[in-house]
């Protein structure tokens, strides 16, 4: 765990993409993802991928890190492609016992692969270039109108913020306790199922106890510093849209419209 990239890790860098307002990054990512879904022709899909590649290059994050962030998903991606390839009926290309590969299957797999790959890169780009803090601040601002209908936006976002903040710590703790129990002969991979579940308790119980304890401490610490929810609370760094933010959103929106125009004409 120590030697790999943590899922959702933020990589600090000074680039156009990093400087974008988190709101426009979220909206842009959503629009581009929509465009990926709506695209019907392989040319379009390739074009979107090309565009996303350009965005990636401007983010100044090395390709190796993009690859590392993508790595955990490659297996699922390959599996999805395989199923798509084998399960689509149509004109047969190769037949081997019960395995039938069809022209349609290959096309569908190629199209699916391009789309999923683009989506994954987009999602990773968002988490690589946005701090969790900026992300939740943007969510809070974007959902603020819903507060009028009684939705506790600030509280929900705070809960999300705190959970995001403590995921790495929780993982670290679980890892440490797992190691400690490993030293007491707890093998989590071998033995009968019942015994394995019992041994898993040796990790789960301490981790739960520690998190409940920590939750209580954080609540006390927040209250003792005068935290009482959204009321009268202002932000240190107000979010502000710049010219490039609008360019980015318009670009994504344009991409979306372009794809919509051809929608329905394809398969």
């Amino acid at each position: 765990m120590n030697t790999s990239l943590i899922l959702g890790q933020y990589i600090p860098e000074k680039s156009l993409i990093h400087e974008l307002d988190p709101r426009s990054k979220i909206i842009g990512t959503a629009l581009l993802s929509l465009a990926v879904f709506l695209s019907a022709f392989p040319e379009e899909q390739l074009f979107i991928l090309f565009l996303v590649m350009i965005i990636i290059l401007t983010s100044k994050i090395s390709m190796r890190i993009h690859y590392l962030a993508l790595k955990p998903f490659l297996f699922i991606l390959a599996l999805a492609l395989l199923i798509q390839m084998l399960m689509t009926p149509g004109q047969e290309l190769i037949e081997f016992y019960f395995i039938k590969i069809t022209v349609e299957g290959l096309q569908a797999a190629g199209s699916l692969g391009l789309r999923l790959l683009t989506l994954l890169i987009l999602a990773n780009l968002l988490s690589l270039t946005t701090t969790p803090m900026a992300f939740t601040a943007a969510l809070e601002r974007m959902f603020r109108p819903l507060g009028k209908w009684g939705l506790p936006v600030h509280e929900l976002v705070m809960v999300m913020n705190i959970s995001l903040r403590f995921i790495p710590l929780l993982l670290e703790e679980a890892e440490r306790i797992r190691k400690a129990q490993l030293g007491r002969g707890a093998d989590f991979r071998q033995g009968k199922l019942l015994g394995r579940i019992r041994r898993l308790g040796a990790v789960i119980i301490p981790v739960f106890r520690l998190s409940i304890y920590r939750a209580e401490m954080i609540a006390t610490a927040m209250e003792s510093r005068g935290y009482c929810g959204a009321e009268g609370r202002t932000q240190l760094n107000e979010l502000r849209m710049k010219a490039f933010d609008y360019v980015y959103i318009i670009l994504s929106l344009g991409m979306c419209l372009l794809v919509t125009m051809t929608w329905g004409r394809g398969c």
Binding site: N2, I177, A180, L182, G183, R184, G185, D187, A202, P206
Partner: protein, 287 residues
């Protein structure tokens, strides 16, 4: 049973922008009956070294040997052998406690090893005895009803029930009051002297280690800078000063008195010993 490290290096998150070298070129040996204290500033690689010694982290470069047998990361067998011989007590080990009763908590390890009921019983009794937890008084008590010092000794007893020959402890004194620490230290000394278990402990508390461990290892930024007997620190005082090592208050006192022409026959390891050495010198100079 001796443990040898040769030119060990370790890097965290290697290949990412968060790359951090924790150990570089560390060589040392832990021999039968050793009582070693490892210290250094924060980020000096103390905890990493301890995890390498216990076979939990694998060094990127260098060799780890148990007696004459090299421990290989690929070979589960030799790794298991190392883990059976070395017991690691993590920092705040009481956080691992998960059973309701003291007996079950300590029996967890031996049960995992597949011992019979009577063997488990025997190991639990012995481990509790080693840590000064009387079997009749404690075995059926609830773990959470113990004091923090008792909880820590319980967690260590749970490791001792695995019957390791080398016991590694990460910051064993952290969060304990003076009495709790003294009680624990006394048990560790007993294990070392009577049972021949080698003890290696890591702490940022230089004074505490100097007073309690016969052998001291100093780490600085992942490098081993000193491996020497704590009872002869006067001999390498110059080296410590050269390295910019922060002396303990009583070492500082001895150093200043020596500059004024005082003579010390031996190196006092604790504030108490320093006080006695000062008294001794005054008495001798009066005669």
């Amino acid at each position: 049973m001796s443990l040898y490290l040769e030119n060990i290096s370790f890097t965290y998150q290697s290949g990412t922008p968060f790359e951090k070298t924790a150990l570089s070129g560390v060589s040392l040996s832990i021999n039968d009956g050793d009582f070693v204290g490892i210290t250094g500033g924060s980020g000096s690689g103390k905890s990493t070294l301890l995890q390498v010694l216990s076979g939990l982290l694998f060094p990127f470069a260098g060799k780890l040997c148990l007696d004459t047998e090299a421990i290989n990361p690929g070979q589960k067998k030799s790794l298991n052998r190392l883990r059976r011989i070395v017991g690691l007590v993590f920092q705040f080990p009481e956080e691992q406690i998960f059973e309701l009763q003291v007996y079950d908590e300590i029996a967890f390890g031996p049960r995992n090893l597949g011992f019979s009921r009577s063997e488990v019983d025997e190991r639990v009794r012995e481990a509790m005895n080693h840590m000064g937890l009387g079997f009749e008084k404690y075995s059926l008590r609830h773990c959470h009803s113990l004091s923090s010092g008792e909880k820590r000794r319980l967690a260590i007893a749970a490791i001792l029930a695995m019957q390791p020959q080398i016991l590694l402890l990460d910051e064993p004194a952290a969060g304990l009051d003076y009495e709790g620490w003294q009680a624990l230290l006394q048990r560790l000394n007993y294990l070392n002297r009577e049972k021949g278990i080698s003890i290696v402990m890591v702490s940022h508390h230089y004074q505490q280690l100097l007073a309690s461990c016969p052998r001291i290892i100093l780490l600085d930024k992942g490098r081993l800078i000193l491996d020497a007997a704590s009872s002869s620190w006067l001999e390498y005082l110059d080296f410590l000063m050269q390295q910019g090592w922060e002396l303990t208050a009583s070492q500082e006192l001895v150093y200043r008195l020596m500059q004024k022409g005082w003579e010390f026959a031996s190196s006092p390891r604790s504030p108490e010993e320093t006080a006695w050495a000062v008294v001794d010198f005054i008495r001798r100079s009066r005669k």
